[in-house]
Symmetry: C2
Subunit: 166 residues, 2 copies
């Protein structure tokens, strides 16, 4: 039985484990500097910076449900639409439980939340060389915004610009 529910503060260790597993899969394990304290602060105390769903799978009604994956998202904003949207940051299913539709079920639950809130868009980022993932998303009806690129300011460049006097 698959069960999807909103994460609680008690799920923070599981969420951090999943974040690290996902970074390992993406071959960037050292990139994760997130901590349990930070996730607790940002997901479960005001101001809440993200929302998270946990998928749990039990082999049978008598079995204890084991964490199978998670979806973590935040609200974006479109000035053209004049409405907030949902931006999916992470979608992850533990490797031994893939191929059971858990990822699609998590994404569908996020889509339900988007529709319930009147959001015109559910968006997420994908690596341009990850064609298998792009194929899956396009089969679900997602469009790839080929013309758009992300610009990022961080580190010293961010500090330098912040110190610019007007």
């Amino acid at each position: 039985m698959l069960h999807i529910r909103p994460a609680t503060a008690a799920d923070v260790p599981t969420i951090l484990r999943f974040i690290r597993e996902l970074a390992l899969y993406e071959r960037e394990p050292a990139a994760v500097v997130a901590t349990e304290a930070g996730l607790l602060r940002d997901g479960f105390t005001e101001p809440v910076r993200f929302r998270c769903l946990i998928a749990e799978l039990a082999a049978g009604a008598e079995e204890i449900a084991a964490p199978a994956g998670f979806a973590l998202f935040f609200t974006s904003y479109s000035t053209w639409r004049g409405h907030h949207g949902i931006r999916l940051e992470d979608l992850y299913v533990t490797p031994e439980l893939r191929g059971k539709g858990i990822g699609k079920a998590l994404l569908a639950r996020v889509a339900q939340i988007a529709v319930a809130e009147g959001c015109p868009r559910l968006e997420w980022d994908v690596l341009d060389w990850n064609q298998p993932a792009i194929d899956v998303y396009q089969r679900l009806g997602a469009n790839i915004l080929t013309e758009w690129r992300i610009m990022r300011l961080s580190g010293d460049a961010l500090s330098t610009l912040a110190a610019h006097s007007t």
Copy 2:
């Protein structure tokens, strides 16, 4: 004199005018379905979905300051960094006041907010054919994330996925 300040509810008509001017510049004027009521709801009542800065320019101390541009942004979240970031949705300077550093001043003020909140990243989207803009951003120290693409679910595809039963 250039003055940058947080927008208030009284600025909503100006913000919507700037949003429409920006869409016209991007040759998509019909794409703007935002309304004053929606911007008032999303920017100035809880839950607040975006923040906005207004730039005003006065020719002299005796002059009335005229709206010169705006920056509109929301908070993102990085699970790798374990911290929220700032995502810039719109940065706009009215055409007759360009070349005076107003855009950089607005971006710098957003960077100040990011630094003050401990955000590791300030990000925004750019069209891949808008090389003049990319050049400006790169001179400020921004990196272009060439490998990443945005996937978008909207309209019927979003509704259909939302109706998927788990």
